[in-house]
Structure formats: C-alpha cells, structure tokens
Amino acid sequence: MPQTVHKTSFHNLRIMTSLLRFSVFTPVKMGQQQNPEEAALKAKDGDTDAFGIIFDAYIERIYRFVYYKTHHKETAEDVTSEVFKKALSSIGSFDPVKGSLCGWMYRVARNTVIDHYRTKRPTDAIDDMWELMSDSDTERDTEARMAAEQLQKHLVVLTSEQRDIVLLRVWEEMDYKEIAEAVGDTETACKTDFLRSVSKLRDGMGFATLLFVLTEWL
C-alpha cells in the first residue's frame, strides 16, 4: 500500500509538475514571445506570427499618435494601416543596435503622416494637420477640432519636430531616448527642443510668435 500511495504520489507529482510547467513556465515563455523587441528579431528572420506581437504592442499607440497629427478618424485609420504595412515590409531594415523598436515604429509613423500630406498637397510643405488648422476644406473631427483649437495658436509656432517632441513627451509620456529615435535626433537635442518649446508655449503670444506673425504678414 505504501508503495501504491507512493506511486500515486509520484503520478500526482508528475501531473502537478506538468501543470506547474504549464502554469509557471509557459507564461514566462509566452512573456518572452510577447516582448515586441524580441518579436521584431524573429520577424526579421521571417517569423510571420511575430509581427502580430508587434502589431498588438503598438497599434493603439501608433493610432493615437497618427490621430494627434491628423485629427480625423478615417484618415488616422488609413494612415495607421499604411504605417503597419510599411513596418511589415521594412522590418528587415530594423536594427536593434541602432535603436529601439518603439522609436523605429514612431519614426515610420511620423514619416507616413508627412508622406500623406505631401502626397495629398504636393505644392505645400505640410507635415501635419496642425499646419492646416485655418483651412476650412480639411476634414477634421469636431471634438478634435475643438480641443486642438485650444492649443493651435500656440503649437503652430513650433516646428513640426518640436510639436512632435512635445506631444510624444506630454501626451504619450515617452522618454527622450525613444523620442530621439522617433524624430531622428539626439536625446539631448530633444530635451533642449522640449525646453524651448515649453518656454515658447509659456510665453504664448510672446516675442517668438510676434516674429512669426510679422514674418508671415510681411
């Protein structure tokens, strides 16, 4: 009997170990798989499922960022689709030594938005919807219009890059390393740009804005 009990115990132990493996080890493995940086390396090597992990990790963030720059749901969806198609077709060029996947994804998104406006309005040097706020022909969601108008007169004095740095830092809470990779600049330069941007925004219609208006007017 004791032996039987023993066997049963061993048997149970095996089952428990299996369960333990399943419940403890499997999630760890899954956790590793769900790391988008590692998924990117697998996607580079042709693992088609790995790109799904990247998609899940970034779809909402990228969509938000694109929306910040387009202010229009359908446009944001179209551009976001394009971002992920480009990311998929170019994942081979992603180099983790040169930067993070996060920075790379945002960089693709940023360029795709610029591409969208340059293709749509090839004669204007437009980078995003902030520069078209006064254009009544452009499609824009009402809520976005109302919210953006509160900031537009201030944000429009910033360059497109400065605006992105502010939005990524304040609205997306990204760190400067990721922001630097997204806009293709150095970390310190991004910090400096953020400082200047916030100082300009603080000044409101201060000296910089006045010069901008005068230059436009002249």
Binding site: Y68, E77, A144, A147, T188, A189, F194, F212
Partner: protein, 478 residues
C-alpha cells in the same frame, strides 16, 4: 490634476531644470503650461473592428509575403533580400542566388531593376511621377540651381531669361563621334517602372543643424529662429587659429564650411605631391569629426582623382593645390554618381600644400522622396542609344575619324540629375536609375576621359533625347 499627472509634470520639469536651473524661477508658469497641454490632450479611442480587420489583413499579408501586395513594381533584388532574410541572411547567399537567377533567366542576365532598398525612415514614398517632368528645361544635362534657363549664351556668362528669346538652330560642331558596339551580355526583363529619388530640400533650421552631430555644442541655437523662416545664414568660427565660415542654406537644404584663406601661408608644391590618399582621408575625417559633421549617412569616402584624367602615370607636370575627398550620397545601399560614374556627395577640399581643410561642401540632411516613373522596356532601344553615345550623345568625341569602341555589360547606378523648377525658381536634385555601359579599353588619345556611356532608364528622358535639340538664343537688339 491627479497624483499621476503631478508626478509626470514633476518629472518633465525636473528635466527642464537640469538643462537650465534658472527656469526654476518660472516653475509655476511652466507647470501651468504643461498642465494645460495635458488638459487639452486629444481624447482618442480606436475602433476595435478596425484593429481586428487590420490585424487579420497584416498577418495574412505577412504570411503570404508583403511585397506581393504592397509594392507594385518588385525587383529581383528585393525578392532576394527578403529571401535572404528569411533564410537567415547573408550577402554570399544573395550573391549566389543572383547568379542562379541570372543563369536561369532565358536569354541572359536579369537586372535587378528597381534598385536599392532604402531605409523606410529616410525615404518618403510618393505617388507615381510625383516630381513632374524629369526633362531639363534647357537641355539633356541637368545643371545646378536653375542655370538651365538663365544662361543661354556661348559661355558669355549668361543672359537672364527675362530677355525675349527666340529659338534658333545651332550649327553642329565639326567633330567625329566614336562608334560604339555593345559586346556585353544580353539584357531583358525591364520592369514597367523604375524608382526615382529626390533629395528633400527646404529643411527646417533644426533639421539642417542636425547634420552637425555635436549640436549641443553649437555656437547658438538655430532652432530658436525657426519662426523667422530664415533662408540662409553665414557664421564665422575660429578653429586652430584658422577662421572658417559656416554657410547654411535652408532653402536648398545644404550647408558648407569654408576657410578664410587670407591667412594661409603657401608651401612649395613638393610637399603636396607626397600626400597620400590615407592622409587626405584622415585629415578630412578628423575635420568632420571636430566639427561634429555626421559622416554616417554617407558612403565610404574616397579621394577624387579625376584631375589625373588624361595624364600619363609618370607625368609630373601638374599637381593640384586642392584635392577633394568625397563622401558619397547613399540611396539605400547604392552610391549616387555623376554622369562620369564618379561618386557625388559631401566633399571636403584639402589644401595639399598646407595639409589643411579648405572647406566642406554639400553637407545635407539625408532625407529623400521616391516616386515611380515609366521605364523604357525596349532593350533594343537602350542598346541602340548606347551605341550612339548614350544620353549625352556627342560628348564622346574622337580626334580621329572612325574610332570603334566596345561597350561591356552595364551596371545599374543612380546618377545625380538636376531639373529646374520654374515655379519655385529652384532646382530639384533627383537620383535617376541608369545603365552605365563601361567603355572597354578607351584610347587615351581621344582627348576625352569618359569611362561610361550612360543611358537612363526612364522613358521620358530617352524620349527627350530623341527630340531634335534646339538651343535658345536671346534676341539681342542691335
């Protein structure tokens, strides 16, 4: 504001105070500014149906191969690259596959037509023929900065196009043209379109300043002036007792550095003759690094030896005072070249006598746009054009009648081509794919030193080549 927001704002302000401690005096105003930004954050919610649909689409594309769906004109090279990546990737394997594919192609060599893969973060893909006509307004050869339309005289310095002009026929010079015979591999499989690239100009002050990697140490903050729409600026800077002028042209998106040579003491030419390529490149590298000019976007530097063209090896009658080191512009993996096949890009000119850098030119921000253009699919036409001297036609001149030269199998290269934009009064710097046919054993006595006959692959440029050439002369009143 909740606690999380307070912490976030504290963190942001902390970063600012680290950069400039004096800002602490304005902490409350800055805090209000950031709070205001947070208050007006756009409320964004994503449609779940859109996410599900896109996910399915992307993963399906991923499984079946993205290029088939997304890229209309697919190159052999792209396929090879992706296949290489899929298999774990190696250049050797890619080369092997290229040879295999070439060998298996019926009729001969298959050319990877579309050309380089460009990092997606440096190229904006535009719609087809987005750069307008590739044809130069005043002739087949592009020239920088609108000279095509403003200089119409016979070398007299140019006459403004505002003067009324009428076309007159130009008498053909009495030159003999060499006869070319194509002896290379047969070519086929020209795609329907080729990709043309354009360097993005009109950069912001901060973008152009980013070409200077050590931006943090700059003399003053160019970004602060962005609202002024500054067109250009020239700065003076003293380095190692030498004065340098830094010129920034935001409209053209290029910068240059030039030394004030008034203080230069010229040495004898003998020391100049002893300078080696390695020394020149080291001097150029050191100068760029000292100035914080980013070398990474460019290709491998090389010394420009074109001044030796036409000189015998042992000929010591001439040695230039200035020698250029070229850091080639790269479009993806491809070096951009001029019509002569020599790389073009950022150039560092060095005084070979004093071994000091005289200047750096064409410092630019490596960002490009791409657009598909209709390709010439008739290879017999391409060969025929090559055998007639290529796109530049009569440029290859012979001192003796009846020179017969062979052309080898061409290479695909991107050549720098300027097209004047009359609307803006500026020029577009394009990179157009072309076949460079190597001239085999060119005789030196021909008085010209071209190594290649060049035939662009865009149909429009070839059509322009076939049109009768008319030179426009000003109607000068007597």
């Amino acid at each position: 504001m909740n606690d999380d927001n307070d912490k976030l704002i504290d963190s942001m302000l902390g970063d600012l105070f680290e950069l400039d401690s004096e800002l602490k005096e304005n902490e409350s105003e800055l805090r209000q500014t950031v709070e205001r930004l947070l208050e007006h954050k756009l409320d964004v919610s994503i449609d779940k149906k859109f996410v599900d649909h896109l996910r399915k689409h992307i993963l399906m594309t991923s499984a079946t191969g993205p290029q088939q769906e997304e890229i209309k004109s697919v190159s052999v090279r792209e396929h090879l690259r992706n296949l290489t990546l899929l298999l774990g990737g190696s250049a050797v394997l890619a080369a092997f596959l290229l040879v295999v594919v070439s060998a298996l192609s019926p009729g001969g060599l298959r050319i990877p037509w579309i050309g380089p893969s460009v990092p997606v973060d440096r190229v904006l893909a535009l719609g087809p023929e987005a750069f307008g006509s590739l044809a130069s307004a005043g002739g087949v050869l592009g020239a920088p900065e609108g000279t095509e339309q403003t200089t119409t005289g016979f070398g007299g310095g140019g006459i403004p196009s505002a003067i009324s002009a009428r076309p007159i026929g130009m008498p053909a010079p009495e030159f003999e043209q060499a006869t070319f015979t194509y002896v290379g591999e047969p070519l086929e499989e020209i795609g329907e379109s080729v990709t043309v690239y354009r360097r993005i100009k009109g950069v912001s002050t901060s973008s152009l300043a980013s070409a200077f990697a050590k931006r943090d140490n700059r003399l003053f903050d160019l970004g602060d002036l962005s609202g002024l729409q500054m067109r250009n600026a020239t700065l003076s800077h003293v380095q190692d007792s030498q004065e340098y002028w830094v010129h920034l042209d935001f409209r053209e998106g290029v910068a240059s550095v030039n030394m004030d040579e008034r203080s230069q003491v010229r040495n004898d030419m003998e020391s100049a003759r002893e300078v080696t390529d390695d020394e020149l490149i080291a001097l150029a590298d050191a100068f760029l690094d000292r100035y914080g000019i980013d070398r990474s976007p460019y290709g491998e530097s090389e010394v420009d030896h074109r001044w030796r063209n036409g000189m015998a090896e042992e000929d010591a009658s001439y040695f230039p005072a200035y020698i250029g080191v070229v850091y080639p512009t790269m479009v993806g993996d491809e070096v951009v070249v001029g019509w002569d096949g020599a790389p073009v890009g950022m150039r560092v000119n060095i005084n070979a006598m004093t071994k000091t850098v005289q200047g750096v030119h064409m410092i630019s921000v490596p960002r490009f746009e791409s657009s598909a253009y209709l390709a010439e699919s008739d290879f017999s036409r391409i060969v025929s054009l090559a055998e007639n001297g290529g796109f530049t036609g009569t440029f290859y001149l012979s001192e003796e009648s009846g020179a017969e030269l062979d052309l080898g199998t061409p290479s695909l290269m991107y050549f720098q081509h300027y097209v004047h934009d009359s609307a803006t009064g500026t020029s577009n710097e394009l990179y157009v794919p072309a076949l460079f046919f190597p001239i085999q054993d060119p005789p030196t006595e021909l008085g010209t030193h071209r190594k290649y006959v060049v035939v662009p692959l865009t149909k429009e440029l070839l059509d322009q080549r076939d049109e009768p050439v008319e030179m426009v002369m000003p109607d000068v009143e007597e």
